[in-house]
Amino acid sequence: MKRQGPIILAFIVGMLMMIQFFTPWPRLQDVYNLFLDWKQVVLGFTYILGTWSLVRYHAKKIERRQENYPYSYVALAGLVVTVGAAAIWKTASGPYPWLFDYVQVPMQSTMFSLLAFFVASASYRAFRARTVNATLLLVAGCLVMLGRVSIGPYISGTLFGHEISLVQISDWVLNVPNLAAKRGIMIGVGLGMTATAIKIVLGIEQTYLGKTD
């Protein structure tokens, strides 16, 4: 019953939601909206679970004096101070928005800006023209990059009697071969998602319940 219960529940809810998609019956729409509300309520409670996991993880590190354990004090202090600031002074004014604007946002921006360096290192690796595919990637990448920068519109030439700028070539690469490949992937993803959903609803797929054989 431990495994049968969730399978039956998944079947009933899955079928309800599937039928809901195909019929305009308002009762089923209400059920759908109710489930969405439940999801929000459940999500709220799961943050307690998440916070508990975080506290336990760092408390264990401190307790066992693991490597770099003093940083766990910082993590726990950050949690207590942020939650405390929101609880005491509310979120609209006081230290909470200050913490958000001057601590969290700059840290997130810093991490995000690191992407520029990672893109450079990844591009260097990808654009090494060792094989035909890598060379094609290099050429396509150069064309698209040059077509996107301000000098792009000024680089043009005549092809079969037509004036063609680099911007047009860049757009063609993005809108024809790139989009075709993307759509091929998306069709596969769509089928995969549908098949996975059907397998779960019909109880064929049970790995998410821990069944691995």
Binding site: M18, F21, F22, T23, P24, W25, P26, K39, V42, L43, T46, Y47, L49, G50, T51, S53, L54, R56, Y57, E67, N68, Q104, M107, Q108, M111, F112, L114, L115, F118, V119, S121, A122, S123, R125, A126, K182, I185, M186, I187, G188, V189, L191, G192, M193, T194, A195, T196, I198, K199, I200, L202, I204, E205, T207, Y208, L209, G210, K211, T212, D213
Partner: protein, 406 residues
Amino acid sequence: MATRADLKTPVFAAAWLLLCASVCAVLCVSPARALPPQVKVSDTSNDWGTSLTVSWDKAPTSDSLLGFDVWRIEAAEGRAPAPGSDLPSASAALERAGWQKVAAVGGDDTVFVDSGLDHAKAYAYSIIATTASGEVAIGPAAAVRPSIQVLSRNRINVLVAVILFIAVILGLVARARTGAKLFIRKIAGLEAVEEAVGRATEMGRPILYVPGLDPMDEVATVAAIDILGQVARKAAEYETRLMVPNRDPIVMAVAQQVVRESFSAAGRPHLYREGDIFYVTYSQFGFAAAVAGLMIRERPATNFFIGHFYAESLVLAETGNATGAIQIAGTDSDAQLPFFITSCDYTLIGEELYAGAVYLSRQPLLLGALKGQDYAKLVLMAAMMVGIVLSAVNPEMAAVFRGWFK
């Protein structure tokens, strides 16, 4: 018949001038826009009999048209109660006759969907056009009863496709049950899982598994958890530590359950460490920073990035690459695929993510379902070819054919 000589006579010329002047006067003086002549009421499709669509012909050129008022009254089906005519304005006449104003729309509007109706009753509609010089009544239109549609007509094609897809999957599952051998092509990224887990074991270092950033209600996350079950089982068999940082608490709870079950199924429940499957933060780049730090500190020998990722994918994959870990990624996010392909040793592209757990477990029933996916793809490819040929040969038929897939 007037001849050239006739045109020269003063009488004929005067008559001709008079005619031209009359035509000009009619064109200039009469309102530039004729008012809408009639109202049409029809049932709104794809609803549960709760709305009607009211439309009226638009006056083409009137500059003085300010807007339209939509009036409604319950009436016997097919009939329309006439408003009184002894009152100074059209709206007063309708109000006196029991009509109810339900909406006021702009002069450019020609359609109004009246919702919140009862499908047991019929409704008649009248429109009042408000112009600078006063009101003009249009209609009324005969009463129509909104009807119930059990199925959304615009989704019937999807329903047919889903039913066929389910039938194919069930058919192949039944075939797999009989012991028929189903061919599944090799997926390099999944073939490498065993090697990747073995490498971590040999090096005595942990395995890192990131199940994406999306919550549990996303199918990509379900697929990631399915693959996690298989990876955890192999990790348990090899007695290797498995770390699973999570961005979502529900995913964390499910991952804990799945890994626990996998360790039990492998006969090593005592090796399961709940603390290794933990929640980090909901912040996207906070999560990326924490996982990158984990990779630098713990130096996992194998990294799995399976699920739906966003911009942080490159931060994770490049950091893992810098630590020298063998990396297997899988995502359905087409925007992140190039980053994973560049920085990881193996990448599961799109649908391969959903095939992962089936491929690793080799459960016959699931293989049947996977094969069904391939057949559906074949049908879609054939449909695309038909579409291409029709577009070239008969564009009108191609348009109809495209409509089936909308």
